[in-house]
Amino acid sequence: IGFQRKPNIWKVIFETEFIITVEPLEYYRRFLKENCRPDGRELGEFRTTTVNIGSISTADGSALVKLGNTTVICGIKAEFAAPPTDAPDKGYVVPNVDLPPLCSSRFRSGPPGEEAQVASQFIADVIENSQIIQKEDLCISPGKLAWVLYCDLICLDYDGNILDACTFALLAALKNVQLPEVTISEETALAEVNLKKKSFLNIRTHPVATSFAVFDDTLLIVDPTGEEEHLATGTLTVVMDEEGKLCCLHKPGGSGLTGAKLQDCMSRAVTRHKEVKKLMDEVVKSMKPK
């Protein structure tokens, strides 16, 4: 469809709408040829990221992260439990990602679907591999009492790149968690909780996830929207921590990638980590006088 000398604006609009519905991939390819995307971003550019912490007062720690339209809220509740029998000096961190029908019409109500289970397992892997919290820090009395941190992540609006948003929300919420002081009294051997004295968790590393979508087996774009994820031939998520160490790599099938492309992804992940860390520090600083 070429432009005539005097372009008829209505004809152009009609044809654009037609192509978006009938051949969305072709529509995307035109933008990708010019090294940009329909929403005006470059191939390596993230959507506007905003984070808001501590808004849910019933939770021990909470954070709301918006990545463009994608919105994820994380609420953390801390409870007591007996430590696991095979690791009596460790506590638990139990993540759960929920994709309710309200975030997108593709999800039905009921038990967690495949995508939610994959996301939950991904978050569990990130927590385990990056050692964001030492589980030993959560132990109060070895073999008898330990903390359980239930991290519930709920997606409120699904527009692609759920894993990045979940990781960031989890990190921000964990930084916000305050646990009350617990002592085991010697006479009764029961726990005594002092709700007035609270302390923050010791966050050892700050893992940040960066997701990519592969188009036509060759082109890599960062932070895919819902539409882009649907049209992509593969996805990849890289999780880095601040020392440039790789915590987790998630590539569920899809088109293959060369070693060189993987290296590009990892260097982009390192720059993204700096961006996110700066945002996190600003937020934490603004919360300080409490």
Binding site: S57, T71, I73, V94, P112, Q117, Y150, V182, K196
Partner: protein, 272 residues
């Protein structure tokens, strides 16, 4: 939980630290029984839903989304006389499917995800209250899905969910006779106490009876009523309903403003 292999396994059981805390929670402060907490309402904030609304009243935060109309599952063949105003006959009318979810971190104690009976009861209450307001005859053989998510429970959760759901339906452009406004009430235990409008979580926890009323303000018709507990004599319940309906009327202008703002925002975003 032992059998649930779809979620990450945690400990078999756990207790909240509040059980072991030394000091007691303070009793709720005395207040004007007819005071309504200031409400923040915003419609049209989710990109993936047809219509959405967020409502915050005191500590209660509710998000609601509407999707559809979609083809109803289990379609029935039906005939019979058509309704007034070009509506479909009764057997072919559209359906409203409501879903109420409580976030695990919404209450004082964590509630594990499969909600159970209470969520189903509240979802049914939502459906019963919203049905009179929606012109389901205009959506034959279709279903509209309304999902409400309670992010934080600060008292009167069902009332807030009702209001948010009605706003979301209006934001989605669903044909309605009127908005539905919800209001919660509670009555403290003891001899002859008063009914409190819009209770906080503390007041609700100590209440002997609770009531939620849903009103269609312009038509001045009650769309839904759900109450339980020891409320005393019948006149006391009647008094509570009257108080609740007044509360709903007072809330209505805020919701109108919210919808007007949302419509303006949508206009500004779509220049063509």
């Amino acid at each position: 939980m032992p059998g649930d292999h779809r979620r990450i396994r945690g400990p078999e059981e756990s207790q909240p630290p509040q059980l072991y805390a030394a000091d007691e929670e303070e009793a709720p402060a005395a207040r004007d029984p007819t005071r309504l907490r200031p409400v923040y309402a915003r419609a049209g904030l989710l990109s993936q839903a047809k219509g959405s609304a967020y409502l915050e009243a005191g500590g209660t935060k509710v998000l609601c989304a509407v999707s559809g109309p979609r083809q109803a599952e289990g379609g029935e063949r039906g005939g019979g006389p058509a309704g007034a105003g070009g509506e479909a006959p009764a057997a072919l009318r559209g359906r409203l499917l409501c879903d109420f979810r409580r976030a695990p971190f919404a209450g004082r104690r964590r509630r594990a995800p499969p909600g159970g009976g209470e969520e189903r009861e509240l979802a049914l209450a939502l459906q019963e209250a919203l049905e009179p307001a929606v012109r389901l005859g205009r959506y034959p053989r279709a279903q509209l899905e309304v999902s409400a998510l309670l992010l934080e429970d600060g008292g009167s959760a069902l009332a807030a969910a009702l209001t948010a759901a009605a706003l979301a339906l209006a934001d989605a452009g669903v044909e309605m006779y009127d908005l539905v406004v919800g209001c919660g009430l509670s009555r403290a235990p003891g001899p002859a106490p008063t009914w409190l409008l819009d209770p906080t979580r503390l007041e609700e926890e100590r209440a002997a009876a609770g009531l939620t009323v849903a009103l269609m303000p312009v038509l001045n018709q009650v769309a839904g009523l759900l109450g339980s507990g020891e409320g005393g004599p019948t006149e006391s319940w009647a008094e509570a309903v009257r108080l609740g309906l007044e509360g709903c009327q007072r809330l209505y202008p805020v919701l109108q403003q919210c919808l007007v703002r949302a419509a303006r925002r949508r206009d500004a975003a779509a220049p063509l």
